[in-house]
């Protein structure tokens, strides 16, 4: 269970690390600002749902085949 203290610690550490990265001014320092993470996650959820649908269809088909085999046997 995440407590408020844990969350504060986590945020503080992350802020410290972000400040360090900013300080060192890495060559692609604007990559986070320019990249659309929100849309990336929407796209990810969409493709995962497609994968899950295809996968559940395939497994139900194989279940049907298995039940046919059982009946034949």
């Amino acid at each position: 269970m995440e407590t408020t203290k844990d969350k504060n610690d986590f945020t503080k550490i992350l802020e410290k690390l972000a400040a360090k990265a900013l300080e060192s001014k890495q060559k692609e320092s604007k990559k986070v600002e320019e990249f659309d993470f929100h849309n990336m996650f929407i796209e990810l959820e969409k493709t995962l749902k497609q994968y899950q649908n295809e996968h559940s269809k395939k497994s139900s088909e194989s279940e049907i085949k298995l039940s046919e085999l059982t009946l034949t046997a």
Partner: protein, 137 residues
């Protein structure tokens, strides 16, 4: 989340992260791990920035997680991990990115948080403790 989904999700995450690893061939390794074992491994890592270690140890994790280690394809043999993706293995319906480092960008995505921050990360030694005692009994 089952193994196929975890692998599919991570591969897609890396594919869609167009800001990362441009021009670098990468290799990945995905495995299931208990968060306790994984945190223990992080705790004992020596060649890692202390704040990165603290950051991951402070992450709230479910009992089981999917871990994907990202390697530079050329450096794969040295087992130097240049990125990480940790996914919730216990949540069947939604996908929670517990924490990820992709090309020096820390990403966290769940119902209440959506974080993407650039942080300094070099590399860490690969996790090799899964099923360590398997077959020894």
């Amino acid at each position: 989340m089952e193994a196929g989904e975890a692998s599919f999700f991570t591969q897609n995450l890396l594919k869609l992260s167009t800001f990362a690893y441009n021009g670098t061939s990468i290799a990945t390794k995905t495995f299931l791990c208990s968060s306790r074992t994984y945190k223990n491994y992080l705790l004992n890592l020596e060649d890692i920035n202390l704040d990165i270690k603290k950051l991951f140890l402070n992450l709230s994790m479910p009992k089981f997680i999917w871990v994907t280690e990202i390697y530079d394809a050329e450096g794969f043999i040295n087992q130097d991990v240049i990125g990480l993706v940790l996914l919730d293995a216990t949540e069947p319906k939604s996908t929670h990115v517990i924490g990820a480092i992709i090309d020096n960008v820390f990403i966290r995505k769940n119902l209440s948080e959506n974080i993407s921050v650039e942080i300094p990360f070099e590399s860490i030694k690969s996790f090799n403790d899964n099923l360590k005692n398997y077959g020894n009994n």
